[in-house]
Each structure stands twice: as C-alpha cells, then as structure tokens.
Point group: C2
Chain length 241, copies 2
C-alpha cells in the first residue's frame, strides 16, 4: 500500500523565532496539519507559533485537535485511537501529515501517545520526528544558568509520579528541571521550601511567549492563582545560591 509519512514537528516553547528551518520547510511543503489545542483555549498555541512562517496558509487542511477533559485512561486510549484512525486515513491515501507539538516532541509530549496508537493500527507506519527547543532549555537561557556543566548531571522530571517521588529527586539530584507543574504549583513550592532549596531555584512561565515570567526569588510565588503553573518550569541547581 502506498503511504504517507507522519511528521511530528516540535515548534519550540512559544517564540516564533525559536522555530527551526526544518519545521518551517515541512510546514510549507505539506498540506495536512494537525494542531492540538489546550482545554478551554480558543486557539491552538502550537499553530499560532508557526502560522507566520506558513505561506498560503489558506491552502492547508488544518485539523484542530481538542484534548479530552477526562482522566479516565480507557477514555484517553479511545481518544488517541480515534485520532490515529482519522490520521492514518490520510497516510494510507499517500498524503503526508504534520502533527505539531509544543516544545520538543520527545519530552512529556502527548505526541508519544499518538505514535503508539498509530503503531497499534499499522506497525509499518512511516514516522519522522523533528526536534524542537524545549521550554526548559529556553528557561535555562533566560536565567543564564547551565542545565549541566563539567561533571554535573541534570534530571528532568514532573510531579506526575507523586510528590514523594519528587521529594526523593530533590534530595538526591543536584540539577533538576521540574516540568508539567500545572495546578500542583503550590505543593511543589512548599516542597522546595521544606528542602531549603528556594534560593537555588528559578521559575520561568510561558517562556518565549508575550506573558513570559521569570522569577529567581520563588517567595514571590507564594500567593499565586491556579493558572501560574501552566506552561511553567522550575530549575534547581544546588551548587548555586
């Protein structure tokens, strides 16, 4: 069967200038573009980041994807299966498809779920993944502090495995990036304070977007609304005060 290729394209953290040449070439060459949209948001942020780079955007087929609100894993699996089923129709019809992902498709991206669902439908599907600048990489630049240098290592983690697990990482690792903070912001700040690490931490929200916020004093985050943790990253570097 003749087949198209799925291009999983990382669009970077938000600044349209942080998109790669390769992402731009693929977006201009291909016709079908899938763009995910966050819950309750009108536009697809990933699409907004790249749209200025796309010539003749009116000739493209743009499929906006709304992620399900459910936390039920069966319903989630059904969602990805249905999405993959529609997308594979294009591939089997010899059309290439671009799937946009915020940041880097290899780091906490739902793109991994799409790839898995596609492979369950067709083990031979052609997939080409294009890396993007991750939000933590931009955050490190914004605070002018390396993620790792010399003999250091760096652990990228999220609170998804639970706060006890995050606590263990904070105790045992020296350079830490916490992503996927969301509504757990308050608990995470409390945990960092308990460990005496507030002065070793930096907070960056919406890196690369116009509402970008950089805080090197985390005590300023103690009274914050529930939106503060969205699209945010905390960098910890124990060697630095």
């Amino acid at each position: 069967m003749s087949r198209g290729t799925l291009y999983g394209v990382g669009v970077g953290p938000g600044d349209p200038e942080l998109v790669t040449q390769k992402a731009i070439s693929i977006l201009n060459r291909e016709r079908i573009i899938y763009a995910p949209r966050a819950r309750g948001i009108e536009d697809s942020l990933a699409l907004k980041i790249v749209e200025r780079h796309i010539r003749n955007i009116e000739t493209k087929v743009i499929e906006i994807i709304d992620y399900p609100l459910t936390t039920n894993s069966d319903e989630k699996r059904d969602f990805w299966k249905t999405l993959a089923g529609g997308l594979i129709g294009y591939l089997h019809n010899d059309e290439n498809v671009v799937y946009l992902t915020l940041g880097d498709p290899s780091v906490y991206s739902t793109y991994a779920y799409l790839v898995r669902a596609l492979r369950e439908l067709d083990g031979d599907v052609d997939i080409s993944t294009i890396p993007g600048i991750s939000s933590y990489s931009l955050a490190a630049c914004l605070v002018n502090q390396p993620l790792a240098e010399g003999d250091e290592d760096c652990t990228i983690c999220s609170p998804a495995a639970g706060l006890d697990y995050l606590s263990e990482i904070l105790d045992n690792r020296k350079n830490i990036v916490i992503m996927k903070i969301g509504r757990r912001m308050g608990e995470i700040i409390d945990l960092i304070r308990e460990k005496g690490l507030l002065t070793h931490a930096a907070f960056v929200a919406r890196a690369g977007l116009k509402e970008e916020r950089v805080e090197t004093d985390l005590s300023r985050l103690e009274q914050t609304d529930t939106e503060t943790g969205n699209l945010s990253v905390i960098l910890i570097r124990k060697g630095i005060v």
Copy 2:
C-alpha cells in the same frame, strides 16, 4: 560605558536545517562571530552548520577559537580569561559579539566557562543566550523513542564524574542520556552490558551530520575505533526492550 551584548547562540547538533530562525537573524545582524574549533580539526563545525544561512559572510569578522589541549585547570582558566579579555574589548567598544555553540549552550557547553570568565572581568556584561537543539533531543527523534513521558523522569549525564557515579545512575534511574562519551566509549558499553541494559540502549553518533550513525543494537559497537564516541549519545530507557 556603552556596551555591546554577547549572544551565545546554540546552532543545534549538525543539520543546518535544525538551526532556529532566531540564530539566523542574529548571525545576519551582527558583525563579530566567534566560532570554536575542535582539537585537530581544520574547520569550525559550528560555523559550517550556520554558514549557508549567513548573507555576505565576507563582511563578517570571524574569530576561530582553538580550545587548549591541556587538562591542567590553571591553564584552562588562563585560556578562558584570555579569550574573555579579547571578547570584552569588542563589548566595551559598543560592538555586539556572537559566540557559536554546538547543540544547546546550556548542556555541557564550554560557553558556561566563557560566561564565567566574562563576569569575572565585568559583572555587568550583557549576555543573551539563545537555545539550540541538543544532540540528545535529535537522537531521541532518530530512534523514535521519547526521552520522558507520563510519570517518567530523564537524567542527562556524562562520564566526567567517574564510572562509579555513572554506574549508580544506571542502577537508579530509568531513562538516561549519556553525553560526552569520547574515548570512554568502550568502558561505558562494558558498564551497560554488565547491568544487562544493552537491549534497552540506543547509540547515535554525529546526529544531524552526514556521517550520522544510529545503532539500536549496541553489540555492534564492541569493536570500534577510538573516534566512535566523538559527538555521540547513548539513550537508555529501561521500560522498553
């Protein structure tokens, strides 16, 4: 005193298409470009990656930097101090300077040493760091395997802290990226074999360059020359066989 800005620009792992728009704009706007060159290599790889994107390259002042061969830390410090001393001359003369770094300037880049040396000379120096695609991020795309998803974390490390330390990371972490492999390639492969992790590992060398090599069977690396570990990355993901 009027001052220029140092732009530390990540140029990505090697493919000129993986350079960001922002890096290209800065390179076209600014006149002074510092480009590091590896020991014993004729050209600067970082410069080769971006040169096709630079208009009127003949109008630029390009300073090729040869890193010192020494492992003596005093001599290294002197090298960075001398380099920073020359560079700060431009900044204090109101000229901006671009300093190219392979991959991402925040991950095991000597750029961190330059920044430190500059700040020792002038605490107020203006520095703007532009993230680049790291080699491990491209490597993950090439093997179509996420660095972290769901409740996983990912540890980026190097053998610089010693093989015992690397051994501890291999025992205790689930997703691991090993960078800066170089001549320790053989020892690292032995360690991964001892831990029974060969089938969970992937090797990518010179990602994004024309000599790119991707191995998902690390036993193929047992007889290799000493150059194999250069510009290479090993990805380990214990959950995947």
